[in-house]
Amino acid sequence: MTVFSEFLQHMANGLVLGFLYALVGIGLSMVYGILRMINFAHGEILMVGVFLALPVSALGAPAWLVLLSGVAGATLMGLLVQWAIYRPLLKSPEVTLLVASLGVSLLLQNLVLMLTSPQPKRPDPAPFLDQPFRVGEIVLRNVDLAIIVVAIAATLATHLFLKHTRHGRALRALAQDMSAARMMGVNVPFMVMICFLIGSALAGVAGVLIGYKYGHLTPLSGFVPGLKGFVAAVIGGIGSFPGAVVGGLILGLLETFLVGYLPDALAQYRDAYVFLVLILVLLVKPSGLFGKPETVKV
């Protein structure tokens, strides 16, 4: 393998990883944009989604049906959490929401741990997804291709929703100025629900795709993707939709290249690099690539 094709291979792997981060980051970024809340339970919504999809997969359902059930599971869980826990706290200080989301994260992790066995699980293998897919010297699997296609489709759908529908406009207005949006007749609690619905659905997509790609699912599987999704959102500029997508891709590429080109002894620290990147971004450009500088509330 030549140096150049090795580079291309890392690039392809990085893009696949990046699309997964982008799917997670969008939900976090949207929620933050509206509520100024870091939703630590976002990764757990992803995890619950894919765990709910596992029985469907065990019945021998095709992959697209498993994906849909994962999306449905994550969405229901996200809405349940939002309705039962975040909604009553909507007017509380930001730290209250943050602590509550920490609690939800811990609760979901351990509920799933208690209700299932601790052994890692995987969706029933889909032979088609595991087949290799070659472009020149780059080798991917069909599942990687599926990740790229599904992620682009989901992102595009969200983009169109935000730009070209009434509710999308209401969401954007809410992110700009909540009280002004309320005075213009935007139904704030309903739109917050919609926001969680979209974020959770995208997390569900990411969850099932992660399940098919890595095939190693534990109740802790959602935590690190959730954190990295947040880092992706910060890199792109938190609150910005294109920012979350671009940030996810940058983070995926960066992580893959670092792991690929660093000597083996240093490559084990991949999770640590992601947060070093976060600290660097906060140091150099805290508002991210697409973000507006944070206005100070007086």
């Binding site: 200080p93 994260s105 208690m114 880092v231 640590a272 976060l278 906060l282 100070v296």
Partner: protein
């Protein structure tokens, strides 16, 4: 000597008496739980200093504890075992075995340096990012401990640490931590810190150097976190990366939140409840016959209870049990107030994240 001072001295004397009686009478199991309780109080009070009084909601306290703990343990580790168990260090460090106190303090300093490195870029920003950046620090420290096998023995855990911490050490540092935090909160610096928490702009207008005040407060909290970690290693005689995992983050936050952010009394209360409660839950986790009722093994029950407490407190009583109130002799015995204004009576702890 005023009446409250003499009461405090009497209380301290009784505390020392209790420590002496416990050391003499209790079996090692209960001594260990009491030791853990003391360490948890030190950790929670110092976390509360940053989060409750300083408005810097940090999820990196376990990382500071790990840094302080591992540093102190490596400095007191018996020379005879060092080169076989943790051979990665240079020769002079392998030949070195320090007394407990300097090792603990150096551990605290190492934790403070980490706090400055993380805090310097992050604390200049308005809130929001600190929680994630410090959680990232916890991940980084965790990954580093697991992978630096020659320096920390990795996931196996660094065992064979001399058991230097007893209730006297822990009790001593407990009193010291509470005293220092109390005095800091009621000093010029503490007022500046709370002013920054309550209103960033107004504090700046009043001449407070916002970034510096926050960084110093964060560093002090990390120092005591590091001390707590050092005590932990020398109490349990083993340090593993698992002790400083996400569960430790959650548990620490639960202790602080349950007691009340911005109250030292609350932190003590929260740490007591959250240390004692799991001792009753752990038997349930294993399953089997409890009080004549057959129950299956319930993995993760402790964490579920912790989580429900976190969520429940937020929904029902966001200020925690104590709110921002403090214990005082005056309110306990209904003594007349002194002429000095009670500075502990600020409003609820409003923190921006």
């Amino acid at each position: 000597m005023s009446r409250t001072t003499s009461m405090t001295l009497i209380a301290l004397f009784l505390f020392a008496l209790a420590v002496w009686a416990a050391e003499a009478q209790l079996n090692p199991f209960y001594l260990q739980i009491l030791g853990l309780l003391g360490i948890n109080i030190i950790a929670t009070v110092s976390l509360n200093f940053a989060a409750g009084f300083g408005g810097m909601f940090s999820l990196g306290h376990p990382a500071f504890m790990a840094l302080g703990g591992y540093t102190a343990a490596i400095l007191t580790y018996p020379v005879a075992m060092k080169s076989s168990r943790i051979p990665g260090y240079p020769d002079w460090l392998l030949q070195l075995q320090m007394p407990f106190l300097p090792a603990l303090l150096i551990g605290g300093v190492v934790a403070s340096i980490a706090a400055i490195i993380v805090g310097w870029p992050v604390l200049r920003l308005r809130g929001h990012y600190l929680a994630v950046a410090t959680l990232g620090l916890t991940v980084i420290v965790q990954v580093a401990i697991v992978n630096l096998v020659d320096y920390t023995r990795g996931a196996l855990g660094l065992s064979g640490i001399p058991r230097l911490a007893n209730l006297w050490w822990i009790g001593g540092f407990l009193v010291l931590t509470i005293y220092v935090v109390y005095r800091l909160v009621h000093s010029r610096f503490g007022r500046a810190l709370r002013a920054v928490r309550d209103d960033y702009v107004a504090a700046q207008m009043s001449g407070v150097n916002v970034a510096r005040t926050r960084l110093i407060g964060f560093t002090i909290a990390a120092f005591f976190g590091g001390i707590a970690g050092g005590l932990l290693g020398h109490l349990l005689r083993i340090l593993t990366p698992g002790q400083f995992s996400f569960n430790a983050v959650f548990l620490g936050v639960a202790m602080m939140i349950l007691g009340g952010m911005g109250s030292i009394t609350g932190s003590i209360l929260g740490a007591v409840i959250m240390t004692i409660l799991p001792q009753f839950i752990i038997p349930l986790e294993r399953g089997g016959n409890v009080l004549g009722i057959e129950i299956p093994a319930l993995n993760g029950l402790t964490q579920i209870v912790t989580a429900l407490i976190l969520i429940g407190v937020m929904l029902v009583r966001p200020g925690g049990l104590a709110g921002a109130r403090e214990f005082s002799w005056r309110s306990l015995f209904n003594l007349p107030p002194t002429g000095r204004r009670r500075s502990s009576r600020h409003g609820g702890a409003s923190v921006d994240v």
